[in-house]
């Protein structure tokens, strides 16, 4: 079994805004594109043009319909999901070979593919379903928080963010140090009441989700617009008076 670091210097992670995510899947494909070319084995797709295509993705978007009690209009929420880089990451402690590990310097959870035997215990241990077995290489694939982008000396400073964050058209993804209370992401979490996903699992996820703002708050008692003049032909009279006043 593999040990977690006692503490990490930083807690790098994502803050995902469920209020603005339109479910467009831009993050899913930017992630696939960067990570199939970079860290570790390519993200394979089995039966890619066939009856049951099954590819490895490190980030997926799920959509849920919510039917509020009381008969209000149903709502749809889009929920992007990838590894949450938990502080108490059960996928690491369950790993029999040390392939799964959490980095001491920034808290990123990675898989050392050379040491991975593809046993799948980590995927079983992860309560979020955030790991996927590569269908060709039979090693475990997971979000690397684009560790090969965020420190990449060949990228301009502004591009040293995960591919999903750089591409998101709806501004729904934010990256930073959640261990630093003064960081922009930490402040966003405080302002918007960011939440842990399934806190009862005790995994202490680093990634946070910003809840959707309330929808459909329709004030049924809102005042109607007052008519200018209820008298017959009154509108044109009002018009004349108003035009006169305007000069």
């Amino acid at each position: 079994m593999t040990a977690l670091p006692e503490r990490t210097d930083r807690k790098l992670g994502l803050v995902i805004d469920l209020d603005t995510c339109v479910g467009c899947h831009a993050c899913v494909i930017a992630c696939k594109g960067w990570n199939t070319e970079n860290y570790g084995a390519p993200l394979a797709d089995a039966d890619p043009y066939g009856a049951s295509p099954e590819g490895a993705f490190l980030n997926r978007v799920h959509s849920y319909e919510v039917r509020p009690a009381g008969g209000d209009a149903a709502q749809i929420f889009h929920f992007p999901k990838s590894c949450l880089h938990c502080e108490d990451a059960p996928c690491v402690t369950v790993c029999p070979t040390g392939a799964s590990y959490k980095r001491g310097e920034d808290g990123i959870v990675l898989v050392n593919e050379d040491a991975c035997i593809g046993c799948g215990l980590c995927a079983w241990a992860c309560p979020y379903g955030a790991r996927e077995m590569d269908p060709a290489e039979k090693v475990m694939k997971k979000c690397t928080l684009c560790v090969d982008r965020i420190y990449n000396e060949h990228l301009p400073q502004e591009d040293r963010v995960p591919a999903c964050v750089r591409t998101c058209p709806a501004g729904a993804r934010h990256f930073g140090d959640l261990g630093d209370p003064d960081s922009a992401v930490s402040r966003l979490v405080v302002e918007r009441g960011g939440i842990d996903l399934m806190p009862e699992q005790g995994t202490r996820p680093v990634n946070k989700y910003l809840p959707p703002r309330p929808r459909d708050e329709i004030d049924v008692l809102a005042p109607f617009l007052d008519p200018v003049d209820e008298a017959p032909g009154g509108f044109l009279g009002w018009l004349d008076r108003t035009l006169e006043r305007m000069g």
Partner: protein, 965 residues
């Protein structure tokens, strides 16, 4: 604990980055294509680009899989088996182009109208139209007629520009944004970026759509309107705002035709026409002098309440006519609400919100400007309320009038071309009068007498012969659809098959899948394409198709001209065409071969535009050869750089040659222009000067800048047309008055629909389909990850949208006794399909819907015949006929908007019944043969450079392990 491994934290994204323009949909975002040894390694958004500012959608990032798709055509093909079977043989370019040249040369010499050249999602229409004009056929258009022509035409006729490419909400200042009928598309990234900005700023979003997905899902408030009734909602809002006087009277008086004087006497032959002086200038009553004066006279104060009796006839203002119509209690929320499925209080509340945003949150922005009447202003008033709309309102047979109603609402609020409202993107605004009129006079061996498409001002501009018969194969600009400014591509095949109005010889299609998802009545169209006469000859004798992929249409081609992908060719996103500008800057852009098409297996593909240049030279078309008959252009790149549409005006406005070096706008051709664009990142931005950014139609500084840029040759100030007089001219013809008389059988419909003030009438299918027998409206939406790509050939995207159930509202699901995994028979007055279904609550209770164009024909797109797209995917198109049912008068009417010819996709009414699960969705046309072979069983997408680098790293690691004791 062992030391953490040290992965490579700084891999190079590529050894080179090339900047070009995406073509995975119509947004035309800037992209950075990272290459490794000439192979595409990664595609991301260009941070400097005005459209997407660095972001990129799923389609854009998946472009790499479009480029490497196994469905790509590899070389020219010639049909060997019956049409539709896909039995083809490979051919050389010389053979394929020889056949096409011989055929087209004969047609041009005998009867050029026998060529019908129609392009689909073409982004080079100013070039393809130029080619067709030189050829001399009147039968050319692109896909706008079955897309959103209602939106474009209503916008241009009303205010000189529509939504999307023509203008944009002021995302930085709007306080209330209302979105009508937009799924997750048009335009994709800019709307997402805009919505995000509104959320960040705390602005409010109201979404009007029967389906609550995508953008509608994140709106603050959702109005789940019944399809086809948006116009009633809008006119009810207009009623509330007018009745309360919460409208911008000063704006209406100065900048719109509301104060223009209409002949108000029903007995007059000019009834409803605008009063003009002898010079033809519209007149208004001047409040200062009480006299009639030209609308543009210096110092005139147009009176909204003016009346004038002249030559025995009474005249009153457009505004009077509006008040009379829209103050009618028939438009009150109490009357409208029950008809559109909304409580009246919600309509009242939205009206109050609109008024509050427009008037209570108004503020002044300092801008010194002078209007076209010569009056100087120190500020512009901000009206922070804005709108956007797209196919949900336009793809109905009442869509033109609904889009007009929406523009009227914007204008009543004074929220167009002002800070916080809707702002035009140069070269728009541009009124209909500044566009060409349509042309269709074909003569052997001659070019057409002018551009194909344009904006008619009345019956005199129709393209009909002396007997009133249409001159175009699609019957565009005929009495049936007078303002069909984008043509009617969806009618071409059925008209050609019927020989109505005349038979054609060659159907030439580019980038249009008319044998599948781009046609109404898909099964019928497939039969028409393969139908033969009594002698066994095809009724449509010859079909030429250019496509990049093994599509359904390719199987019906006699000759296939394989196109490149967007990463392999030159293109220009031109200000002469569909621009990519922003409100504060015009912009144009290029594509260029960032990878070479000469990769193994694909040596045989050629960019379609270069092929057209070649064909133009072979046919010796004017404009394509010089006086000696020698080609003028080597290829499309050469054309882009050296073609001049007017002296000094070419496809690209940047880096032209001026007197003292490089210049923008007007200037001589520059043979190094594309190199300059490449060095500049693939695009060029032309900033609107500071004092010219608002009130563009009336702002002298803007008009002067537009002339300097070459958008037009003289200033073109104009007033917004709340009242569209050209429509009244058609109405007069329908009333049997004036010099032109509408055909008898069209008169009643034309008199009703061609109202010069916005109205609502029921979608035409409602007059045929019994609402009790067919109680549900059926819609499609474009998924964000597929729109305009329809990427069955894209291995990544098809894992997101590989099948498409028909979503049923909960009451329909429960009443029909449906359970998960069930299938349904869906019937319309035209046909039936059998499809998988799923329940959905966030949906108008009278609406069913599915994702558009996921279904594919078996054998197409190099997909496995058992792929879900082929066995479970389906098209609603089979249920939608291109003609309305017969009425017993011997005539058939197009299933289109009677004004513009817009395909009325969303008028569809259906019933839904549970059926036993069939083996596959119905109808199931037989599989087509794939000319490109089978796709691989496993993909490990990586460049060769990355694969060899990781192999080397593995070897190092193994060596290290070996050394470890």
């Amino acid at each position: 604990m062992t030391r953490d491994p040290r992965p490579d934290l700084s891999p190079r994204p590529g050894d080179e980055t090339r900047k070009t323009t995406c073509y995975m949909c119509a947004c035309r975002c800037g992209i950075d294509v990272h290459l490794k040894a000439g192979e595409v390694a990664y595609i991301e958004g260009n941070r400097d680009h005005p459209v997407n500012r660095g972001v990129l959608c799923a389609k854009g990032s998946a472009g790499i899989m479009q480029h490497t798709s196994p469905a790509r055509l590899k070389g020219p093909l010639i049909r060997t088996g019956p049409r539709g079977t896909g039995e083809m043989r490979e051919a050389t370019w010389d053979e394929a182009l020889g056949i096409v040249t011989e055929r087209l040369g004969r047609l041009r010499h005998e009867a050029p109208e026998k060529l019908a050249f129609f392009t689909g999602r073409d982004q080079s229409q100013s070039f393809t139209g130029f080619w067709a004009q030189a050829f001399g056929t009147p039968n050319y258009a692109a896909h706008g007629g079955f897309c959103s022509v209602n939106m474009a035409a209503a916008g241009i006729y009303t205010m000189g520009g529509a939504f999307w490419e023509f203008g944009s909400p002021d995302w930085e200042r709007t306080e209330l944004f209302m979105l009508f009928g937009v799924a997750e598309d048009h335009d994709s990234n800019p709307i997402k970026m805009g919505l995000a900005r509104l959320k960040e700023r705390g602005a409010r979003i109201i979404a009007v759509n029967p389906i609550r997905t995508g953008y509608n899902a994140i709106a603050d408030d959702w109005v789940g309107v019944t399809p086809g009734t948006d116009g009633l909602l809008i006119l009810s809002l207009v009623h509330c705002l007018m009745r309360a006087g919460r409208i911008d009277l000063d704006y209406l008086a100065r900048w719109t035709n509301a104060p223009m004087l209409l002949d108000a006497d029903a007995k007059s032959d000019n009834h409803g026409l605008i009063l003009r002086d002898e010079a033809g200038r519209p007149l208004v009553m001047d409040r200062a002098t009480g006299k009639a004066m030209p609308f543009d006279a210096p110092g005139v104060r147009p009176d909204l309440n003016g009346r004038l009796r002249r030559a025995g006839w009474t005249h009153r203002t457009v505004f009077h006519a509006m008040a009379e119509r829209y103050l009618d209690p028939g438009y009150a929320p109490e009357a409208i609400g029950p008809r559109i499925g909304l409580p009246p209080a919600r309509i009242h509340a939205i009206a109050a919100e609109l008024a509050h945003a427009a008037f209570d949150k108004a503020f002044e922005v300092a801008q010194d400007w002078t209007d076209f009447r010569g009056e100087r202003h120190e500020t512009v008033t901000a009206r922070p309320v804005s709108f956007h709309a797209m196919r949900g309102i336009s793809a109905h047979s009442n869509g033109f009038q609904t889009a007009r109603a929406l523009h009227m609402l914007q204008i009543l609020l004074g929220a167009v071309e002002r800070p916080g409202g809707f702002r035009f993107k140069p070269p728009y605004p541009k009124p209909p009068e500044a566009h060409p009129r349509p042309h269709a006079s074909a003569q052997p061996d001659r070019p057409l007498d002018g551009p194909h498409l344009g904006f008619p001002q009345g019956p005199a501009d129709l393209l009909v012969d002396e007997a009133g018969r249409p001159l175009r194969i699609d019957k565009a600009f005929s009495w049936e659809n007078p303002l069909s400014v984008h043509g009617l591509m969806h009618m071409v095949i059925s008209n050609a098959h019927a020989g109505d109005p005349y038979p054609i010889d060659t159907l030439f299609l580019y980038m249009a899948n008319m044998a599948w998802n781009s046609s109404m009545n898909t099964s019928g169209v497939m039969e028409m394409l393969a139908d033969t006469d009594e002698d066994g000859a095809y009724r449509i004798p010859f079909v030429v198709v250019s496509d990049s992929y093994s599509s359904e249409m390719v199987a019906y081609a006699d000759v296939v001209l394989p196109d490149t992908t967007y990463l392999e060719r030159h293109d220009c996103i031109s200000l002469l065409d569909r621009p990519i500008s922003e409100p504060d800057a015009a912009a144009d852009a290029i594509r260029w071969p960032v990878v070479t098409p000469k990769r193994p297996g694909h040596e045989g593909v050629r960019g379609f535009q270069s092929v057209l240049i070649d064909l133009g030279a072979r046919l010796k078309l004017p404009g394509f050869v010089d006086d000696a008959g020698k080609p003028l252009y080597a290829d499309y790149a050469d054309y882009i750089q050296t073609h001049e549409r007017r002296p000094g005006i070419g496809p690209l406005a940047g880096f032209r040659l001026g007197e003292d070096g490089l210049t923008d706008g007007r200037g001589a051709p520059n043979e190094a222009q594309l190199d300059s664009y490449i060095r500049a990142g693939g695009f060029r931005v032309f900033e609107v000067p500071e004092g010219a950014r608002y009130m563009k139609p009336w702002n002298r500084a803007y008009q002067d800048w537009a002339v300097s840029m070459g958008f037009y040759d003289t200033p073109q100030p104009y007033l917004f047309q709340l009242y569209v007089e050209p429509l009244r001219r058609f109405q007069l013809a329908a009333e049997g008055r004036g010099p032109h008389r509408a055909p008898e059988h069209l008169r009643a419909r034309m008199a009703l629909t061609h109202d010069p003030l916005p109205i609502w009438y029921a979608p035409l299918e409602d007059g045929h389909a019994d609402p009790v027998g067919y109680p549900l409206h059926a819609l499609t939406q474009r998924p964000a990850a597929m729109y305009h790509s329809w990427g069955g050939q894209n291995a990544w995207l098809r894992q997101i949208h590989g099948d498409n159930p028909l979503f049923l509202p909960i009451p329909v699901w429960e009443d029909g006794g449906f359970a998960p995994g069930d299938w349904a028979r869906v019937s319309s007055i035209h046909g039936e399909i059998a499809v998988p279904v799923a329940p959905m609550a966030a949906l108008n209770p009278e609406t069913v819907w599915t994702w558009n164009a996921i279904g594919k024909r078996r054998g197409a797109w190099a997909l496995d015949p058992r792929a879900p797209e082929a066995v479970k995917g389906f098209l609603l198109n089979h249920l939608i006929h291109e003609l309305l049912p017969p009425k017993g008068d011997g005539l058939r009417w197009a299933n289109s908007d009677p004004i513009t010819g817009q395909a009325a996709w969303f008028d569809l009414r259906v019933k839904v019944e549970r059926v036993r699960r069939p083996a596959m969705s119905y109808p199931a046309p037989p599989a087509q043969r794939s000319p490109v072979g089978r796709a691989p069983k496993l993909l490990r997408r990586q460049t060769r450079a990355a694969a060899s680098a990781s192999a080397a790293a593995d070897a190092d690691a193994d060596a290290e392990k070996d050394e470890t004791p």
